[in-house]
Structure formats: structure tokens, C-alpha cells
Symmetry: D2
């Protein structure tokens, strides 16, 4: 057990900086390797980074010498590697790390659709990690050394969406129709250059490249099934679930708001009060496992007419809890509601950390 | 014919100020009476008002002495009276004006549901004015003097919503399912106090009191039918059309963005290209009548992936045109698209002016 | 010693809510009385308040029954009473509390100019509390019971301004010319209604009623002197120090930015490096006394060209530290620099709490 | 006379787009050549540009084939060339154009400090164009062909600053001390990427690279003198005028607000009322010449306590007028006031157009 050695790929970027913040005072992990481009490699981290977080650059990270993103040297000794790499680089580098036998938790989109890669929102579907457990146990049985693996963090807007869906599906059966219109924060777009100021000042951009497709597809994998062998994922089919997303960028720093609407396949549908109670009662597995970052309350059901609001509610349970409000009947589908989640915590780096906590709790790392 | 005398009720308020701006250089109307609370009555308008428009207070309005909101004095001589009154006052005052034989176009919500009051978006359903024409002609037949009447402007978010629906229903038959999630500007809420700064800075408020009910109901009246006699309106039933609205307040000054999704009752549904062409081809009646403020292009179909945007597109055709973008198939209903309309022009005062232009063109006033 | 009983006047308002948040987990104080208008009195606090903080309403405050703002009942037992009252009510009520022998720390402006009332920024001039100590000791000598007293928190923008001035004056003698142009956050204006959204969206309001006069005057009291007896304050004269403030309201939630420029009376002026070092070395008395909320680093001297920035730097030392950047020579006066302070912490409620901590550390309460 | 042929360098950029908008319906000019990078050259303008203006791309520009930025082909026939080039390219290209005998009005900073290049704010110092007139007349005398020349548009924040200074200096003699703290809009920074959204959302950036130096220096050239021969400019010395600027980037789309303070060299200083009257009475030369874009009222003196505000006042006289408010005595210098100017009109492209109108009116082109 003890403290696990953690590496961060893409350490100078927006997601990498957040991994470092979350790791800096973490009881389970210590920062052991920081990887960035060859331009940064060799420098002390504090020299290499343009730090743009509201929390100060942690002392513990300042003097670490930045490495190149290769599965050697400091990274070779890591129990877990968090990847905040851009998709342009993640594909190649993460593959190298897995091939070198390393455990990678990635925020990049590259391997999310791979049939044997778990796409995990840690407060929703940690049971998908069983595919990794099986892979490790199969290798052991075969007398091979422990294999490397990759686990993908979902898209930020998907994380908020599926959080309330999971307990509802568990309680009332499949959701066959689902619509979501998002009002997404700008922090998710990073900061070099990120979203242009002129695009979000007195404005809305009703489009985020690739986002709608990601939400529509990822939801079906996260709420989906395994193959018979338990070695691959079988997303829900369009017949089982139709998902429609409309994504907007708005002038909010952190916190994705989603106006969702859903229909259950089974009749009669539950009552509004049943839906609320099911959400209130939901305790995610990470919380049951006692994971350090797991939310006390997984889903906060708000009763005030005008909540959740990003500025007021995004930091519930340090950003690991999801807020759901305005749960009411929908004239078109069954129910509509407003879901708020912290896009850089449960929607990105924070999910990565919580996944690693679960991996440790389950002795996978 | 000639120039019509216009009065404005609630002249010092947000909507009243916009009526005045639009009337000041209007070729069809002259400002003849300005009404406000007894606190303002007797003062020159420039003394009574806290002017908060980006255009300067028109010279022509500055010296007009503000009256009380009574159907006497200057108002008695008006051919048309525009009401920007708060709902708290509009009910009583507007009734008095109608009873005094005056023609009232109101932005208040009080009489929108009255069966014999037209609820008109002038680029959508000016044919609803026939109820007024019938009322006048009936009075004439009966040897009575010309009756007063009231016409209601729709809610701001309803106006944008129904604009593209009308030509689609005309072309492809009824829409039976409709969802809209709005991202609404703050100017619609007036400015004393209006929306609080702290509520829209780095924030979304996912609730606007009464707004969803208004949108769901008004849409069915505007797209609805007449009774046999042509004297009353018969809104669509829930069986004919289900509408679901989710309303959000966002940090935009002017321009309501709506992410809508719809299903036609008839199969097969038209193609995306047909939908676009129908919207492009639509010419509203006001434009055919040559009304001064009518849009050259009623509906602007935008092909860029990230449009319409409020800051860039809200002023098309001086705010009388509606922009529609991202028209595409919807996995849940038939089509989804983004609709942008100027909430204080086509969504409020501007619609009032254009209604009056139609009334004049049809010799109703 | 032990835990002191604290009361909060104006408990449902913006400043009152922040007092409650800061008191809820404070080791030195417990919330004993909450006062609000007669409309709220008698209700449980959670019923009476519209809570609008980003932190949740503390459990410890929820069930407290709100009292009227009278120096009786629960308030009579308080060791310290924090006032977040509006100026309209503060004058009368605070006087009653003092007359009843209570210790009041007030955020209202009413008594700031009273010659015997300390106007205290706790990281700047806690020595002004000696006037209270003298008052108490005089009463004791005279055999009278311990008198009530009031201490005023400075205006929010004054607090940030004087923080760097104090150590500079101590080190290099009087500052005779001082200009400040402020870019002030909206949270200071409260929220009912507070600053209107339309006023700060894509806009600046270059005026805050009464603010410039307050800054110009308060600075001279805070940096000023005592009379011979040590019983009253003698602000600096215009001959000793001229202060010019220009105040702007901007679209920032928390954190006042000030661009200041100053000239020392003595020649030669210190060097830029001396100024920086003096600010870095400054340790406020509250920190020396070990007060719970006192900043580890009173003044943070930032070297990055584009700092301090409100979003990134306002929370240094939980809002009790002040950030100063861009210290450089000024072509007109001696030096210019940018000062950032948290307007609701060191600029309001937080200062009140820290003043009370100092009072306790000095056995004044 | 007649209509002059105009070229635009950097035509796809932010400034270039505004030149095109202003030229499209201009009675004095027609767009004859559009220059951009070799990547764009050869394409129709509507294909080459990512249009991001609130007004639609003018029909007249859509089909123009974009050229490379060389003083040949279409550009060789231009009577006037407007340059919106980035400073990285402007130096070389503009020199080539001048050497080819072309008249260039540039928004780039490269030649602003050249002693023989006029730095012109057209509502302030068009008399500086005499240096060009002399150059042309000298060439004529020498029997040489008409020489090319360049005129520089000032920095956007300088333009607003000097507008009220000029009439005051003319009336009351030199200003020897001047401070300005700016709150600058983001449109000036262009849009690829321009100012990052995360930098201006709930934030201020108290720094704009190079801006303060530009303001401090340009002011002294614009208000400065000529050498004896009238062939070169002699900026004011530090002894004659000290200028101190502090520049901030804020969440405003268009419109720079400046809080300025100034002292006259002569005693006694004028009264506040005299200052106001002088500003009100100022009629710039362009207006006297009847130039198409010249403001009806050069300087708008606002009496409301809380004005000017960018959203409400930036469009006075189509952005060619400057608004000045809060004129009052300053405890440190003589007067303080708030100046608002439209940074992309009088502060950039608009000034270029108005300079060209003056050139035409004076038969320089």
C-alpha cells in the first residue's frame, strides 16, 4: 500500500496544472514525474510553467525537473500516470506508456472509444474497471508480467450528464430518450489561447467542436454493457437509447450547466418525488470505499426554484458532487431537470484522481 | 392616412423608452402623448426619465409633458397607444383605454390569454388581427361607434421561437412535439432593478419566473386556430402539440438564443435542406405589405457551424429579422436548430411598432 | 478567556451573511444572537435569510431564532456584536447598543468620522484601539462600569489602499501626495438589488456614490494621529497629505484593484527595491499577536508583469493578505503600483472579525 | 477630385475588416485593392476572411480578389492605402509602399516615432500633416515626382487621452503634469487569439504590453512642436510635460475609459466651468472642413454623475466623438475627469479614414 508514485503528462497545460494541485496535498500520492514538451524538459517546473490557477503553485512541485513524455527515467517508477496531454500527442505517447507496462489515467479523447478501454466517471461506473482487473488476472494466469493499461476520463459535459442517470436507470430501468442542452464554462477549453474573450463577452457561442458527438456516444458507453467475456464494452444501441445534445459556450469560468430531459422505457414512469428520492439516496461506490476525494453527498438535489447556479453551487463536495435542481415533469418526455457539475473537477482532472483512488482501493495499482 | 398620433403608456420604463426611440423618427407615427406614474406626470419627459438607452433621448420627446395614464387629454386624441406598463398596472389601465374606444398595443401579459385578444408576433401571425377587423365591422353593422381594442405582443422568448415554426407548419403540417432551452438576455428584465449583476457575472440563472409557462402556452395560441365565427382564438390542444421550455438567464445584453428541437406530426418528415429552403423563402406579410419596419429577410438561415451568436447576429434587419442556424437532424425528435431573436425589438417594443404599421396598412387604425 | 459570544446585526444582509460564515467555524467566537428587521424576527435564521454565498449556510446558524436589533435578550449577553446594518438603520441601533454597554464592530459608515471612534483596518492601524483601552481604563479608574464602545471598519476600497502605505510611511516618512483609481468589484454593493447586471455587462460605471470622499477622508484618519490625551483622533491635514480618488465599478465579483501613485514628503525618495523590500518585510501586529485570521504574509509583492489580478490573487491568505504588483517609478509622483484586496474580507466582514480577534488578544473583550 | 481608390493592407485582420466596413459605403473612397498574406492571396475576399464584425461583410468587398501586400498591381493604382498590418510585417511592407510613391495611413506602431512621420489623431492635430505638404511641395520645387509618404494613426488609448487636452492647451497653455489610468476594451487586441476569455471574466488584467510607454511618448509628440524648417516633429520634453499612464484590460467589448488628472503650467488655473465650456466649444478642423466622418460635436461634455459609460456613450457621432464626464477639481493636480473614446473608431480604423478625408480635403491626395 503506502503512498503511490504519480506522474503527470502534459504537466504545464491547463489540465496538468490541476492534476498537480490535486496531487500536491494528497494523502495517497506523491508527485514523482512531470512530463512536458522537449522545450520545457530539463527545466525546474516553476520555470517551465505559466501558472494560471487561483491556488498558488504548490511548493512540492516547484523544483521538480520536467522530463520529456517518455516511459523512462522518473516515469518508469510511477505507480500511476495522469495524462493531461492534448489529443494531438496523447495517442502515441499514451500507447508507449501502456506498452511499457504503466498505468495511465487519461483526460484525452483518443482511446475513449476503444472497446477494451474503460471510460469512467468515478462517481458513476467504477464497475467498468473490472475489464482492467480481468486483463491483469488473465496475464497473471498466463504467467505474464502485469500489463500496462489505460483508463479514460469522460468528456467534461458527459460526466455531469450521466451522474443523475445512473441511479435512475438502476432504480427504474432504461432511459430510452435523452436530450441535453449545455451551457458550458470556458475553463474546459484551456488557456493558450482557450476561448477568446470577444466570443464570450455579451455573447453565446452555440457550438463546441465535436462536443455533441462525444456526449451522445460516451453516454451510451458509460451506461452500456460488457461482452460475455467481460473483456470489452458494448455501448447501448440507438434502439436502446437515443441521445441528443446541443452544446453552448457561455461566460462562466467553471461549472457546466445542463438542461436535460429524459424518458424511461418502462411504464409507468416514477413520480417526481421518487426521482428526487432516488437521487438523494445515491451513494457512489467511491464513497463506500472511503476514497479520499469521494463526495459525502454524490448528488445534491436542490429545491430552490432558481438553482443550481454555477457560481453558487459548483464547489459542492470540492467539485466532486453534482447538483440537480428543478426536477419536474416534462410535457414532451417524462422529466426535465437542471444538472450542474464542476467541469475541471468531476469533469476532468478531479475524476482522474478519484479513479486512481479507486484503483488503489481495489489494489489494481 | 397621413401620420398617426401615438401615445406611450409606461413611458419612463425600459419598454416605454424603446417605444419612444422607435417612434421618434418613424414616418407613420408621431409621439403625441406620454404616460407615466403620477410622480412623473406634469414634468417634461427629459426631467421625468432616467434614460438608459445607447441611443440618445430623441429631441422630439424631451419637452413633451408627461401625463397620467388616463384615457383623456392627449391620450384621447391618439390613433394608437403603445403600452409598456408593468403587469401590476396594465390590467386596469389598458381596460380603461379600450373602454374609451382607444386602440392599444400592449407588451404586458395581462390580456394575452383573453379569447378575443389577438396575441401577435407581427412576422408570424398578423392574420390574427382579423378578429379585430370583425369586431369593428360588427360594430359598424350594428350602427355602433368604432370600438376600442387591445392587441398583445407576445412574450420575448415566444417571438423568437414561433418565427421559424410558422413557415414550417405552413409547408409540412403540424409540429406535434417541440422543446426549447433558452439562453435569455438581461435587457428584457428592465433596469430598476432588472437582473442583478452578481446573478449573471460568471453565472447562469436557470430560471425565469413564469417564463416557461408563457412560452408553452403562447406558442399554442399563436400557432392555433379561430372559432367558427372568427371572433375568438382556439389554441392548439396538448394532443395537437406538446411544448416544453427550459429558460435560463445569461450574461448577454440583448438577444435571446434558443436551442430548439421539433417533430412533425406527418411522415415522412422533410429533409434538412427542405427545412432550410422553406425558412429562407419565407416572406412575412408585413414585408409584403411594405411596412416600414418589416425585415427584408424574415428568417436568416446561417450556414456557419458556430452561428447565430447574439453579439454578431442580433441586429439583422434592425432586430426585426430572426436568425436560425445549425439546422440538423435530431436523434430524439426530427430536427434541432438554434434560433436567435432580438428580445427588445421583435420580442417587445419593435413588435408593437410593426403591429401598428400593419394596423395602419390594413386601415384598422 | 474562552470562547466569546458573538452577535450579528443585519444578519440576513450581504455583510451579515459573511460575518456568519466567518464566525461559524471560528475557534474564538460562537454565534449567540442574530438580529434583523422585525419582519424576520422570530423566524429561524434559515427561514429568514435568502442565502447567496458560495459556501453553504452553516448548520450552526440555521436554527438560531432571529431577534430584533435591540440590546436586550440574546444580544445583552454578547461579548462582541458585529454590525452589517445599512447606514439608514445603523446610526440609531448601534448607539443603543453602545449605550447598553456593548462592544460593537461596525461595517456601517455612520460613526467613522466620530473623533473618539477608531476607524481600523486591522492589518494597518490596530494601535488606534488604544483609544478604547483608555476609555475603559478611565471608566475603571472612575469606578464606573465597563463602557460600551464602537469600532468602525473602514470602507472596502480604503482598506486595500492603506495596507501598503502604512509600512512605507513607517519606513520613509510621510506620503504627501497620493492618487488612486479604483476598479471595484460588485459584491461590495450587496445584492438587493446591488449593482444592476446591465450596468456591468460590457460596461464600466465610473462613479460610486460617496466612495471617493470616503477614501480621501478615511485615509487621513487611518494614517493620522491622536490628540495629546490619546482620547481622540486627529486626521492628517490637507497640508500634510493630499489624496485624490477616482472610483469605478467593474464586472468583477470579488476583489478591488487600485492603480495608485504616491510621493514621499522626504527627499531623496527610497528606491523601487527598497519599497518592495519594506512591503515584503511588513508583519502586521495581528500576525505578531497570533490572531487566528491574521495573514501569514501581510503584503504579497508580485513580480510578474501582469499581476495582481482579482480572479487569481484575491484569496491570498484567505482574503486577509493584500497583493501589490507592478511597483515602479512614476513620471509624475514617485512611485506607481497596483494594489489588490478582497473587498468582503479585508475590506468588510473579515476585517471586523480580525478586529475582534485583536480585541480578545488584548483583553479588551 | 472624385472618388479616390483605396487599398487595405492586412485586410483579413481585425483592423483591416473595420477599414473595409468604413470604406464600403463611403462617398469619397472605393475599395480597389485588398492585401493579405500569401496564404490568402488569389482568393475572393469572402473566402479568405473569417468575418467577425457585427455588421455583415459588405457586398462590395466579397468578390474582390485578395492580393499579396506588394506595391504593384491593384495597389499601384491606389490613391490611398490603409494599413492594418501587424507590427511584425508593417515595417518592411509599408516602407516598400512609400518608396513606390504611395500614400499610406497606418495603424501599426512601427513609424510612429520617426521624426518626419506625422502621428495624427484627426480630431486633434491635423496640422501635423503640414510636414507631408512641405515634403510634396519640396519635391515639386526640385522637379521630382510626388513622393510617397506615411501617416501614423496613434495608439487607441492615446487618441482618447489627447482629444480633450488639445483645446485645453490651446486655451490655457501647457499642461505640465498628466496622469491617466485606463480601463481598456478587448476589441483593440484583435481576435486571433486576442484577449483570452478567462483573463477578462470576473477579472482585470492590470497590464498591456508596451501600452503605457506608447501613451506617455505619443502624447508628447501629438501635443508637441515642429523644427524650424517644419520638416520634423519635436516632441515635448519631460521638463515641459510629464505623463504617467497605468493601463488595464477590462471586460468591455468596445470603448476605452480613462480616468485622467492634469495640471496646467500657468497659474491661476481655469475654473471647472471654463474647462467644460472650452471642451464644449471645441470644433475640430475636420468638422470645419466638412469631412464626411467628422463628428458634429467633437467633445461631448456629460453632466450626469455616472457618465460616460462605454455601453451607453461609445457610439456618439458614430464613434468619432469623444465623451468627457465628471470634470471636477483634483486635490493633487488641478482637474480630474473621465474620458471615453471608441477604440476601434477614433482609436484606430476610423481615425485612418478621417485622416484620409482630411488629406483629400486638403488636396494632398
Amino acid at each position: 500500500m503506502g503512498i503511490k508514485k504519480a506522474g503527470v503528462l502534459g504537466a504545464t497545460g491547463s489540465v496538468g496544472q490541476r492534476f498537480i494541485l490535486l496531487l500536491a496535498e494528497h494523502p495517497d500520492f506523491e508527485i514523482h514525474a512531470l512530463g512536458a514538451s522537449s522545450r520545457s524538459a530539463g527545466k525546474a517546473y516553476e520555470q517551465a510553467v505559466t501558472w494560471k490557477q487561483t491556488d498558488l503553485l504548490p511548493e512540492v512541485a516547484k523544483k521538480i525537473t520536467v522530463s520529456e513524455c517518455k516511459p523512462e527515467g522518473a516515469f518508469a517508477e510511477c505507480d500511476i500516470v495522469f495524462s493531461g496531454l492534448d489529443a494531438d500527442y496523447a495517442g502515441e505517447i499514451e500507447k508507449d506508456f501502456v506498452n511499457a507496462g504503466l498505468a495511465v489515467v487519461s483526460n484525452a479523447k483518443n482511446y475513449r472509444r476503444s472497446p477494451d478501454v474503460p471510460l469512467v466517471v468515478p462517481i458513476v461506473n467504477p464497475e467498468h474497471l473490472s475489464v482492467i482487473e480481468k486483463k491483469i488476472s488473465d496475464a497473471k494466469t498466463a504467467g505474464e508480467k502485469k500489463p500496462g493499461f489505460i483508463i479514460c476520463i469522460s468528456n467534461c459535459s458527459t460526466a455531469g450528464l450521466v451522474a443523475p442517470l445512473k441511479p435512475l436507470v438502476d432504480a427504474y430501468g432504461p432511459i430510452d430518450l435523452l436530450t441535453t442542452t449545455t451551457l458550458q464554462a470556458i475553463s474546459g477549453a484551456g488557456f493558450s489561447p482557450g476561448v477568446s474573450g470577444i466570443d464570450v463577452l455579451d455573447n453565446i457561442v452555440p457550438y463546441i467542436s465535436g462536443e455533441e458527438e462525444k456526449m451522445e456516444w460516451e453516454t451510451k458507453k458509460i451506461l452500456g454493457n460488457f461482452n460475455k467475456e467481460g473483456s470489452e464494452f458494448v455501448p447501448l444501441s440507438d434502439d436502446e437509447m437515443k441521445v441528443s445534445a446541443q452544446c453552448n459556450r457561455v461566460a462562466v469560468s467553471d461549472g457546466h450547466t445542463e438542461c436535460i430531459s429524459l424518458r424511461f422505457a418502462n411504464r409507468p414512469a416514477p413520480s417526481v418525488e421518487q426521482v428526487k428520492q432516488t437521487l438523494r439516496d445515491y451513494v457512489c461506490e467511491a464513497t463506500k470505499l472511503g476514497c479520499h476525494s469521494s463526495p459525502k453527498q454524490t448528488i445534491h438535489v436542490l429545491e430552490e426554484a432558481d438553482r443550481p447556479q454555477p457560481r453558487l453551487d459548483r464547489n459542492r463536495d470540492a467539485g466532486y458532487g453534482v447538483s440537480v435542481g428543478r426536477i419536474r415533469e416534462d410535457p414532451v418526455l417524462d422529466f426535465k431537470m437542471v444538472v450542474l457539475s464542476h467541469n475541471t473537477i468531476i469533469g476532468a482532472a478531479g475524476s482522474g484522481i478519484l479513479i486512481a483512488e479507486i484503483l488503489k482501493a481495489k489494489n489494481i495499482i
